[in-house]
Amino acid sequence: MDATAVRGEGFNPPEVLDLIARAQKGDNAAFDEIIGRYQRYVFNLIYQHLGSTDELEDIAQEVFLRVFKFIRKFRGDSSLESWIYKIILNYCRTQARRKRFLSRFVVSTHPPPPQEEKSFDIVADYPDPTKDPALAVEDQRTVESILSALEALPQIYRDILIMREINELSYDEIAKILGISVGTVKSRIARARELIRQRVIL
Protein backbone atom coordinates (compact mmCIF):
# COMPACT_ATOMS: atom_id res chain seq x y z
CA MET A 1 0.00 0.00 0.00
CA ASP A 2 1.44 3.37 -0.92
CA ALA A 3 1.86 6.45 1.20
CA THR A 4 -1.27 8.09 -0.14
CA ALA A 5 -3.40 5.23 0.95
CA VAL A 6 -1.79 5.09 4.38
CA ARG A 7 -2.62 8.74 4.91
CA GLY A 8 -6.29 8.01 4.30
CA GLU A 9 -6.38 5.14 6.75
CA GLY A 10 -8.45 7.01 9.33
CA PHE A 11 -11.22 7.81 6.89
CA ASN A 12 -11.54 4.75 4.72
CA PRO A 13 -11.84 1.06 5.59
CA PRO A 14 -8.92 -1.16 4.43
CA GLU A 15 -10.80 -2.65 1.48
CA VAL A 16 -11.58 0.86 0.17
CA LEU A 17 -7.96 1.89 0.64
CA ASP A 18 -6.92 -1.10 -1.41
CA LEU A 19 -9.47 -0.19 -4.07
CA ILE A 20 -8.20 3.39 -4.22
CA ALA A 21 -4.58 2.25 -4.50
CA ARG A 22 -5.46 -0.09 -7.38
CA ALA A 23 -7.53 2.58 -9.12
CA GLN A 24 -4.63 5.03 -8.77
CA LYS A 25 -2.52 2.53 -10.72
CA GLY A 26 -5.15 2.47 -13.47
CA ASP A 27 -6.57 -0.98 -12.67
CA ASN A 28 -9.82 -1.39 -14.66
CA ALA A 29 -11.12 -4.04 -12.25
CA ALA A 30 -10.84 -1.49 -9.43
CA PHE A 31 -12.81 1.03 -11.51
CA ASP A 32 -15.48 -1.58 -12.08
CA GLU A 33 -15.61 -2.31 -8.37
CA ILE A 34 -15.85 1.38 -7.50
CA ILE A 35 -18.74 1.81 -9.93
CA GLY A 36 -20.54 -1.17 -8.41
CA ARG A 37 -19.92 0.05 -4.89
CA TYR A 38 -20.81 3.72 -5.35
CA GLN A 39 -23.25 3.71 -8.26
CA ARG A 40 -26.34 3.95 -6.09
CA TYR A 41 -24.71 6.60 -3.91
CA VAL A 42 -23.77 8.73 -6.93
CA PHE A 43 -27.19 8.36 -8.58
CA ASN A 44 -28.93 9.34 -5.35
CA LEU A 45 -26.81 12.40 -4.75
CA ILE A 46 -27.23 13.67 -8.30
CA TYR A 47 -30.97 13.04 -8.12
CA GLN A 48 -31.26 14.82 -4.77
CA HIS A 49 -29.21 17.85 -5.72
CA LEU A 50 -30.49 18.33 -9.25
CA GLY A 51 -34.02 17.31 -8.34
CA SER A 52 -34.69 15.52 -11.61
CA THR A 53 -33.93 12.29 -13.40
CA ASP A 54 -33.24 13.97 -16.73
CA GLU A 55 -29.79 13.01 -17.92
CA LEU A 56 -29.17 11.25 -14.62
CA GLU A 57 -27.14 8.48 -16.23
CA ASP A 58 -25.18 10.88 -18.42
CA ILE A 59 -24.26 13.04 -15.47
CA ALA A 60 -23.36 9.96 -13.40
CA GLN A 61 -21.06 8.83 -16.21
CA GLU A 62 -19.35 12.20 -16.25
CA VAL A 63 -18.99 12.11 -12.48
CA PHE A 64 -17.41 8.65 -12.51
CA LEU A 65 -15.09 9.66 -15.33
CA ARG A 66 -13.98 12.64 -13.26
CA VAL A 67 -13.49 10.40 -10.25
CA PHE A 68 -11.22 8.10 -12.27
CA LYS A 69 -9.45 11.00 -13.92
CA PHE A 70 -8.59 12.65 -10.63
CA ILE A 71 -8.23 9.63 -8.38
CA ARG A 72 -4.45 9.94 -8.60
CA LYS A 73 -4.83 13.28 -6.86
CA PHE A 74 -6.97 11.85 -4.06
CA ARG A 75 -4.83 12.51 -1.01
CA GLY A 76 -6.87 10.38 1.35
CA ASP A 77 -7.56 13.17 3.82
CA SER A 78 -11.28 12.41 3.74
CA SER A 79 -13.48 9.43 3.04
CA LEU A 80 -13.83 8.45 -0.60
CA GLU A 81 -17.57 9.13 -0.29
CA SER A 82 -16.94 12.71 0.82
CA TRP A 83 -14.48 13.22 -2.02
CA ILE A 84 -16.99 11.88 -4.55
CA TYR A 85 -19.68 14.03 -2.94
CA LYS A 86 -17.52 17.10 -3.53
CA ILE A 87 -17.05 16.19 -7.19
CA ILE A 88 -20.80 15.68 -7.59
CA LEU A 89 -21.66 18.98 -5.93
CA ASN A 90 -19.20 20.86 -8.12
CA TYR A 91 -20.51 19.15 -11.21
CA CYS A 92 -24.15 19.76 -10.30
CA ARG A 93 -23.48 23.43 -9.62
CA THR A 94 -21.68 23.86 -12.91
CA GLN A 95 -24.53 22.10 -14.70
CA ALA A 96 -27.14 24.26 -12.99
CA ARG A 97 -25.20 27.43 -13.88
CA ARG A 98 -24.82 26.27 -17.48
CA LYS A 99 -28.52 25.48 -17.72
CA ARG A 100 -29.48 28.86 -16.29
CA PHE A 101 -27.14 30.59 -18.73
CA LEU A 102 -28.33 28.60 -21.75
CA SER A 103 -31.97 29.02 -20.84
CA ARG A 104 -31.58 32.71 -21.66
CA PHE A 105 -30.78 31.90 -25.25
CA VAL A 106 -32.31 28.54 -26.00
CA VAL A 107 -35.97 27.78 -25.89
CA SER A 108 -36.50 24.07 -26.14
CA THR A 109 -39.58 23.24 -28.11
CA HIS A 110 -38.91 19.55 -28.41
CA PRO A 111 -39.82 17.05 -25.74
CA PRO A 112 -36.80 15.09 -24.48
CA PRO A 113 -36.16 12.01 -26.61
CA PRO A 114 -37.64 8.80 -25.22
CA GLN A 115 -35.04 7.11 -23.05
CA GLU A 116 -33.85 3.61 -23.67
CA GLU A 117 -34.17 1.13 -20.92
CA LYS A 118 -33.20 2.85 -17.67
CA SER A 119 -30.77 1.26 -15.30
CA PHE A 120 -32.50 2.75 -12.24
CA ASP A 121 -35.84 3.38 -10.66
CA ILE A 122 -37.12 5.94 -8.19
CA VAL A 123 -38.84 4.58 -5.07
CA ALA A 124 -40.51 6.37 -2.19
CA ASP A 125 -41.46 4.82 1.14
CA TYR A 126 -44.63 6.89 1.39
CA PRO A 127 -47.58 6.50 1.60
CA ASP A 128 -47.21 3.87 4.32
CA PRO A 129 -49.29 0.84 3.22
CA THR A 130 -49.72 -0.30 6.83
CA LYS A 131 -51.47 2.96 7.81
CA ASP A 132 -55.11 3.92 7.56
CA PRO A 133 -55.44 5.07 3.89
CA ALA A 134 -56.80 8.50 4.87
CA LEU A 135 -53.90 9.15 7.24
CA ALA A 136 -51.43 7.77 4.71
CA VAL A 137 -52.69 10.22 2.08
CA GLU A 138 -52.37 13.07 4.60
CA ASP A 139 -48.82 11.97 5.37
CA GLN A 140 -48.00 11.85 1.69
CA ARG A 141 -49.25 15.41 1.23
CA THR A 142 -47.11 16.61 4.11
CA VAL A 143 -44.00 14.89 2.77
CA GLU A 144 -44.61 16.25 -0.70
CA SER A 145 -45.17 19.80 0.50
CA ILE A 146 -41.96 19.67 2.55
CA LEU A 147 -39.99 18.22 -0.36
CA SER A 148 -41.28 20.90 -2.70
CA ALA A 149 -40.34 23.54 -0.10
CA LEU A 150 -36.86 22.01 -0.07
CA GLU A 151 -36.75 22.20 -3.84
CA ALA A 152 -37.60 25.90 -3.71
CA LEU A 153 -34.88 26.80 -1.18
CA PRO A 154 -31.86 28.81 -2.32
CA GLN A 155 -29.15 26.43 -3.44
CA ILE A 156 -26.77 26.89 -0.49
CA TYR A 157 -29.53 25.97 1.97
CA ARG A 158 -30.92 23.17 -0.17
CA ASP A 159 -27.52 21.55 -0.59
CA ILE A 160 -26.68 21.67 3.10
CA LEU A 161 -30.08 20.34 4.17
CA ILE A 162 -29.84 17.46 1.71
CA MET A 163 -26.42 16.65 3.12
CA ARG A 164 -27.59 16.75 6.69
CA GLU A 165 -31.17 15.44 6.67
CA ILE A 166 -31.19 13.06 3.75
CA ASN A 167 -27.62 11.84 3.69
CA GLU A 168 -27.01 12.26 7.41
CA LEU A 169 -23.52 13.68 7.08
CA SER A 170 -21.85 15.05 10.18
CA TYR A 171 -21.06 18.74 10.59
CA ASP A 172 -17.37 17.97 10.06
CA GLU A 173 -18.00 16.08 6.84
CA ILE A 174 -20.23 18.84 5.49
CA ALA A 175 -17.67 21.48 6.45
CA LYS A 176 -14.95 19.57 4.60
CA ILE A 177 -17.02 18.99 1.48
CA LEU A 178 -18.23 22.57 1.25
CA GLY A 179 -14.94 24.06 2.40
CA ILE A 180 -16.56 26.13 5.17
CA SER A 181 -16.23 26.18 8.97
CA VAL A 182 -18.29 23.97 11.29
CA GLY A 183 -19.82 27.11 12.81
CA THR A 184 -21.04 28.20 9.36
CA VAL A 185 -22.40 24.71 8.74
CA LYS A 186 -24.41 24.87 11.97
CA SER A 187 -25.84 28.29 11.35
CA ARG A 188 -26.62 27.50 7.72
CA ILE A 189 -28.46 24.30 8.70
CA ALA A 190 -30.44 26.14 11.36
CA ARG A 191 -31.35 28.85 8.84
CA ALA A 192 -32.32 26.25 6.23
CA ARG A 193 -34.60 24.49 8.71
CA GLU A 194 -36.18 27.78 9.68
CA LEU A 195 -36.76 28.70 6.05
CA ILE A 196 -38.40 25.40 5.28
CA ARG A 197 -40.61 25.70 8.35
CA GLN A 198 -41.72 29.16 7.24
CA ARG A 199 -42.70 27.85 3.83
CA VAL A 200 -44.78 24.90 5.00
CA ILE A 201 -47.93 25.06 7.05
CA LEU A 202 -47.92 22.17 9.51
Partner: protein, 313 residues
Protein backbone atom coordinates in the same frame (compact mmCIF):
# COMPACT_ATOMS: atom_id res chain seq x y z
CA UNK B 1 -46.07 37.55 19.56
CA UNK B 2 -43.06 38.05 21.79
CA UNK B 3 -40.72 35.62 23.39
CA UNK B 4 -41.84 36.79 26.83
CA UNK B 5 -45.33 35.49 25.97
CA UNK B 6 -43.90 32.02 25.52
CA UNK B 7 -41.74 32.34 28.62
CA UNK B 8 -44.85 32.95 30.73
CA UNK B 9 -46.18 29.66 29.39
CA UNK B 10 -42.93 27.97 30.34
CA UNK B 11 -43.19 28.78 34.00
CA UNK B 12 -39.85 28.47 35.69
CA UNK B 13 -37.85 27.41 32.64
CA UNK B 14 -34.44 28.99 32.53
CA UNK B 15 -34.41 29.30 28.73
CA UNK B 16 -36.68 31.78 27.09
CA UNK B 17 -38.57 30.78 23.94
CA UNK B 18 -36.31 32.70 21.58
CA UNK B 19 -33.23 30.90 22.89
CA UNK B 20 -35.13 27.63 22.74
CA UNK B 21 -35.91 28.11 19.08
CA UNK B 22 -32.36 29.06 18.32
CA UNK B 23 -31.26 25.78 19.88
CA UNK B 24 -33.76 23.49 18.14
CA UNK B 25 -31.46 22.79 15.22
CA UNK B 26 -28.49 21.90 17.45
CA UNK B 27 -30.75 19.80 19.68
CA UNK B 28 -32.06 17.80 16.73
CA UNK B 29 -28.48 17.20 15.63
CA UNK B 30 -27.37 16.20 19.13
CA UNK B 31 -24.94 19.11 19.17
CA UNK B 32 -25.98 20.59 22.56
CA UNK B 33 -23.87 20.10 25.67
CA UNK B 34 -25.41 17.98 28.47
CA UNK B 35 -26.37 21.09 30.49
CA UNK B 36 -27.82 22.93 27.54
CA UNK B 37 -29.72 19.79 26.56
CA UNK B 38 -31.22 19.44 30.02
CA UNK B 39 -32.27 23.13 30.02
CA UNK B 40 -33.72 22.71 26.53
CA UNK B 41 -35.79 19.66 27.50
CA UNK B 42 -36.95 21.31 30.68
CA UNK B 43 -38.22 24.30 28.69
CA UNK B 44 -39.95 21.99 26.24
CA UNK B 45 -41.75 20.22 29.09
CA UNK B 46 -43.04 23.51 30.41
CA UNK B 47 -43.83 25.40 27.16
CA UNK B 48 -46.62 24.09 24.98
CA UNK B 49 -45.83 26.30 21.97
CA UNK B 50 -42.14 25.45 21.96
CA UNK B 51 -42.99 21.77 22.32
CA UNK B 52 -45.25 22.06 19.29
CA UNK B 53 -42.52 23.86 17.33
CA UNK B 54 -40.04 21.13 18.23
CA UNK B 55 -42.53 18.52 17.04
CA UNK B 56 -42.98 20.37 13.75
CA UNK B 57 -39.23 20.57 13.20
CA UNK B 58 -38.99 16.85 13.92
CA UNK B 59 -41.72 16.21 11.39
CA UNK B 60 -39.87 18.24 8.76
CA UNK B 61 -36.79 16.17 9.50
CA UNK B 62 -38.63 12.88 9.21
CA UNK B 63 -40.31 13.95 6.00
CA UNK B 64 -37.01 15.02 4.44
CA UNK B 65 -35.57 11.63 5.33
CA UNK B 66 -38.44 10.07 3.35
CA UNK B 67 -37.23 11.75 0.17
CA UNK B 68 -37.52 9.33 -2.78
CA UNK B 69 -34.47 7.18 -3.44
CA UNK B 70 -32.85 5.85 -6.56
CA UNK B 71 -32.47 2.10 -6.81
CA UNK B 72 -30.35 0.41 -9.41
CA UNK B 73 -32.40 -2.05 -11.43
CA UNK B 74 -29.83 -3.49 -13.81
CA UNK B 75 -26.16 -3.50 -14.79
CA UNK B 76 -26.47 -1.52 -17.99
CA UNK B 77 -24.95 1.68 -16.64
CA UNK B 78 -21.99 -0.15 -15.16
CA UNK B 79 -21.40 -2.14 -18.34
CA UNK B 80 -21.67 0.94 -20.58
CA UNK B 81 -19.35 2.99 -18.42
CA UNK B 82 -16.75 0.23 -18.18
CA UNK B 83 -16.91 -0.17 -21.95
CA UNK B 84 -16.21 3.55 -22.30
CA UNK B 85 -13.34 3.37 -19.81
CA UNK B 86 -11.79 0.28 -21.42
CA UNK B 87 -12.07 1.86 -24.85
CA UNK B 88 -10.38 5.05 -23.63
CA UNK B 89 -7.77 3.02 -21.77
CA UNK B 90 -7.03 0.85 -24.81
CA UNK B 91 -6.51 3.93 -26.93
CA UNK B 92 -4.14 5.62 -24.55
CA UNK B 93 -2.68 2.78 -22.49
CA UNK B 94 1.08 2.76 -22.15
CA UNK B 95 1.39 6.39 -23.19
CA UNK B 96 2.93 8.22 -20.29
CA UNK B 97 4.53 11.47 -21.27
CA UNK B 98 7.19 13.22 -19.29
CA UNK B 99 7.18 17.01 -19.49
CA UNK B 100 10.16 17.32 -21.88
CA UNK B 101 8.62 14.81 -24.28
CA UNK B 102 5.26 16.53 -24.07
CA UNK B 103 6.88 19.90 -24.80
CA UNK B 104 8.80 18.41 -27.73
CA UNK B 105 5.62 16.88 -29.12
CA UNK B 106 3.81 20.18 -28.72
CA UNK B 107 6.62 22.03 -30.48
CA UNK B 108 6.61 19.46 -33.30
CA UNK B 109 2.86 19.81 -33.62
CA UNK B 110 3.11 23.61 -33.76
CA UNK B 111 5.84 23.41 -36.40
CA UNK B 112 3.78 21.00 -38.45
CA UNK B 113 0.77 23.29 -38.22
CA UNK B 114 2.81 26.37 -39.15
CA UNK B 115 4.43 24.43 -42.02
CA UNK B 116 1.04 23.38 -43.31
CA UNK B 117 -0.24 26.95 -43.24
CA UNK B 118 2.85 28.29 -45.02
CA UNK B 119 2.68 25.44 -47.53
CA UNK B 120 -0.95 26.02 -48.36
CA UNK B 121 -0.41 29.78 -48.63
CA UNK B 122 2.59 29.28 -50.95
CA UNK B 123 0.63 26.86 -53.07
CA UNK B 124 -2.17 29.37 -53.54
CA UNK B 125 0.37 32.07 -54.32
CA UNK B 126 1.95 29.79 -56.91
CA UNK B 127 -1.44 29.05 -58.43
CA UNK B 128 -2.23 32.71 -58.62
CA UNK B 129 1.01 33.50 -60.36
CA UNK B 130 0.64 30.60 -62.71
CA UNK B 131 -2.95 31.31 -63.57
CA UNK B 132 -4.20 34.54 -62.03
CA UNK B 133 -7.10 33.82 -59.75
CA UNK B 134 -9.95 36.19 -59.40
CA UNK B 135 -9.97 37.26 -55.82
CA UNK B 136 -13.27 39.00 -56.21
CA UNK B 137 -15.18 36.23 -57.89
CA UNK B 138 -18.15 36.34 -60.17
CA UNK B 139 -21.32 37.14 -58.37
CA UNK B 140 -19.51 38.39 -55.29
CA UNK B 141 -20.71 41.75 -54.09
CA UNK B 142 -18.52 44.32 -52.45
CA UNK B 143 -20.12 47.29 -50.83
CA UNK B 144 -17.93 50.31 -51.25
CA UNK B 145 -19.65 52.21 -48.50
CA UNK B 146 -22.77 51.65 -46.46
CA UNK B 147 -25.13 54.62 -46.74
CA UNK B 148 -24.64 55.63 -43.12
CA UNK B 149 -21.01 54.58 -42.68
CA UNK B 150 -18.08 56.95 -43.02
CA UNK B 151 -16.17 56.60 -46.32
CA UNK B 152 -13.49 53.98 -46.34
CA UNK B 153 -9.91 54.80 -47.09
CA UNK B 154 -9.24 54.83 -50.77
CA UNK B 155 -6.63 52.13 -50.20
CA UNK B 156 -9.55 49.73 -49.77
CA UNK B 157 -10.70 50.43 -53.24
CA UNK B 158 -7.18 50.27 -54.56
CA UNK B 159 -6.83 46.87 -52.98
CA UNK B 160 -10.11 45.73 -54.44
CA UNK B 161 -9.43 47.06 -57.89
CA UNK B 162 -5.90 45.80 -58.10
CA UNK B 163 -7.29 42.32 -57.60
CA UNK B 164 -9.89 42.48 -60.33
CA UNK B 165 -8.59 39.86 -62.67
CA UNK B 166 -11.79 38.10 -63.60
CA UNK B 167 -15.35 39.18 -63.93
CA UNK B 168 -16.75 40.62 -60.76
CA UNK B 169 -19.63 42.65 -59.62
CA UNK B 170 -19.33 45.58 -57.28
CA UNK B 171 -22.07 47.39 -55.53
CA UNK B 172 -21.43 51.01 -54.67
CA UNK B 173 -23.53 53.41 -52.73
CA UNK B 174 -25.18 55.75 -55.17
CA UNK B 175 -23.84 58.87 -53.47
CA UNK B 176 -20.33 57.50 -53.58
CA UNK B 177 -20.44 56.47 -57.20
CA UNK B 178 -18.51 59.44 -58.50
CA UNK B 179 -15.77 59.22 -55.91
CA UNK B 180 -15.53 55.54 -56.50
CA UNK B 181 -15.27 55.97 -60.21
CA UNK B 182 -12.55 58.57 -59.90
CA UNK B 183 -10.56 56.25 -57.75
CA UNK B 184 -11.18 53.36 -60.08
CA UNK B 185 -9.96 55.32 -63.01
CA UNK B 186 -6.87 56.59 -61.24
CA UNK B 187 -6.23 53.13 -60.01
CA UNK B 188 -6.26 51.55 -63.46
CA UNK B 189 -4.13 54.25 -64.88
CA UNK B 190 -1.60 53.97 -62.10
CA UNK B 191 -1.40 50.20 -62.06
CA UNK B 192 -1.96 49.19 -65.61
CA UNK B 193 -1.07 52.03 -67.90
CA UNK B 194 2.23 52.66 -66.22
CA UNK B 195 3.47 49.21 -67.14
CA UNK B 196 1.53 48.86 -70.31
CA UNK B 197 -1.82 50.51 -70.79
CA UNK B 198 -2.77 47.74 -73.18
CA UNK B 199 -3.03 45.40 -70.25
CA UNK B 200 -6.50 44.17 -69.52
CA UNK B 201 -8.81 46.89 -68.49
CA UNK B 202 -12.23 46.34 -67.14
CA UNK B 203 -15.20 46.54 -69.31
CA UNK B 204 -17.77 48.04 -67.07
CA UNK B 205 -21.43 48.56 -67.29
CA UNK B 206 -23.18 50.33 -64.50
CA UNK B 207 -26.79 49.96 -63.55
CA UNK B 208 -28.67 51.93 -60.95
CA UNK B 209 -30.17 49.48 -58.51
CA UNK B 210 -32.19 51.29 -55.91
CA UNK B 211 -29.77 52.95 -53.52
CA UNK B 212 -26.73 51.39 -55.16
CA UNK B 213 -24.94 51.40 -58.42
CA UNK B 214 -23.87 48.01 -59.59
CA UNK B 215 -20.72 47.78 -61.65
CA UNK B 216 -20.05 44.69 -63.68
CA UNK B 217 -16.36 44.54 -64.36
CA UNK B 218 -14.65 42.20 -66.74
CA UNK B 219 -11.02 42.25 -67.80
CA UNK B 220 -10.29 43.14 -71.33
CA UNK B 221 -8.20 45.49 -73.40
CA UNK B 222 -9.76 48.91 -73.17
CA UNK B 223 -8.50 50.05 -76.52
CA UNK B 224 -10.09 47.12 -78.27
CA UNK B 225 -13.39 47.54 -76.56
CA UNK B 226 -16.09 49.16 -78.68
CA UNK B 227 -17.64 50.81 -75.67
CA UNK B 228 -14.85 52.13 -73.45
CA UNK B 229 -15.46 53.19 -69.89
CA UNK B 230 -16.96 56.55 -69.33
CA UNK B 231 -15.56 58.79 -66.70
CA UNK B 232 -18.23 60.59 -64.78
CA UNK B 233 -17.57 63.30 -62.23
CA UNK B 234 -20.79 64.69 -61.02
CA UNK B 235 -20.12 66.51 -57.84
CA UNK B 236 -16.76 68.21 -58.35
CA UNK B 237 -17.08 71.08 -60.82
CA UNK B 238 -13.45 70.66 -61.64
CA UNK B 239 -11.25 67.68 -61.04
CA UNK B 240 -7.70 67.27 -62.13
CA UNK B 241 -5.97 63.95 -62.51
CA UNK B 242 -2.27 63.67 -63.04
CA UNK B 243 -1.10 60.55 -64.82
CA UNK B 244 2.51 59.62 -65.30
CA UNK B 245 3.15 57.43 -68.33
CA UNK B 246 6.04 56.49 -70.56
CA UNK B 247 6.72 59.13 -73.17
CA UNK B 248 6.10 56.88 -76.18
CA UNK B 249 2.77 55.71 -74.73
CA UNK B 250 1.43 59.12 -73.84
CA UNK B 251 -0.21 59.93 -77.15
CA UNK B 252 -2.06 56.60 -77.21
CA UNK B 253 -3.51 57.35 -73.86
CA UNK B 254 -4.55 60.82 -74.90
CA UNK B 255 -6.27 59.37 -77.94
CA UNK B 256 -8.04 56.89 -75.80
CA UNK B 257 -9.21 59.46 -73.33
CA UNK B 258 -10.49 61.71 -76.07
CA UNK B 259 -12.31 58.79 -77.66
CA UNK B 260 -13.77 57.74 -74.36
CA UNK B 261 -14.95 61.24 -73.66
CA UNK B 262 -16.52 61.54 -77.05
CA UNK B 263 -18.42 58.33 -76.59
CA UNK B 264 -19.51 59.44 -73.17
CA UNK B 265 -21.05 62.58 -74.58
CA UNK B 266 -22.71 60.65 -77.38
CA UNK B 267 -24.20 58.14 -75.04
CA UNK B 268 -25.29 60.79 -72.63
CA UNK B 269 -27.23 62.56 -75.33
CA UNK B 270 -29.22 59.41 -75.96
CA UNK B 271 -29.97 58.71 -72.35
CA UNK B 272 -32.57 60.33 -70.20
CA UNK B 273 -30.98 62.70 -67.75
CA UNK B 274 -31.76 62.30 -64.06
CA UNK B 275 -33.77 59.09 -64.37
CA UNK B 276 -33.90 57.46 -60.97
CA UNK B 277 -35.64 54.19 -61.85
CA UNK B 278 -33.94 50.86 -61.60
CA UNK B 279 -32.09 49.56 -64.61
CA UNK B 280 -31.25 53.02 -65.97
CA UNK B 281 -27.75 53.37 -67.36
CA UNK B 282 -26.07 55.93 -65.14
CA UNK B 283 -23.69 56.86 -67.85
CA UNK B 284 -26.49 59.28 -68.69
CA UNK B 285 -24.93 61.46 -66.06
CA UNK B 286 -22.07 62.00 -68.44
CA UNK B 287 -24.28 64.60 -70.09
CA UNK B 288 -23.32 66.85 -67.24
CA UNK B 289 -19.66 66.43 -67.87
CA UNK B 290 -17.13 67.52 -70.37
CA UNK B 291 -13.40 67.08 -70.45
CA UNK B 292 -10.80 69.43 -71.74
CA UNK B 293 -8.17 67.99 -74.03
CA UNK B 294 -5.42 66.48 -71.92
CA UNK B 295 -2.21 68.42 -71.71
CA UNK B 296 1.13 66.69 -71.79
CA UNK B 297 4.12 67.83 -69.80
CA UNK B 298 7.49 66.05 -69.72
CA UNK B 299 8.83 65.38 -66.25
CA UNK B 300 12.37 65.17 -64.92
CA UNK B 301 12.63 61.37 -65.47
CA UNK B 302 11.85 61.64 -69.17
CA UNK B 303 8.29 60.39 -68.64
CA UNK B 304 5.22 62.40 -69.46
CA UNK B 305 2.67 63.80 -67.07
CA UNK B 306 -0.86 64.08 -68.41
CA UNK B 307 -3.06 66.68 -66.91
CA UNK B 308 -6.73 65.93 -67.34
CA UNK B 309 -9.27 68.56 -66.45
CA UNK B 310 -12.85 67.49 -66.05
CA UNK B 311 -15.45 70.17 -65.95
CA UNK B 312 -18.89 69.55 -64.58
CA UNK B 313 -21.52 71.67 -66.27
Amino acid sequence: MTSSGYAADAGESQLNCLEFRRNISDYLDGALSADAKAGFEKHADGCRRCRAELARQRLVRECLAKSPKVVITNDRFRTDLMYRIRLGGALFSGIKLSYPVAILLLAAYTLLLAGTIVGVASYYNYLEQKDPVTLIRAGETTTFRQPSAPPRQSTDIQAILSKVKGRCRMKVNFDDADDFFKLMFEQYVRHDIDASYLKPFAEQSSVFDGAYIRYDLRPMSFLEHPNPPIIVFRQDPRHRVLIRVKADEAQKLVDYINAANKIAVQRAAAAALGAEGKGVDVSAKAANVSMNAPTLRPDADGDVVLELDFIGL
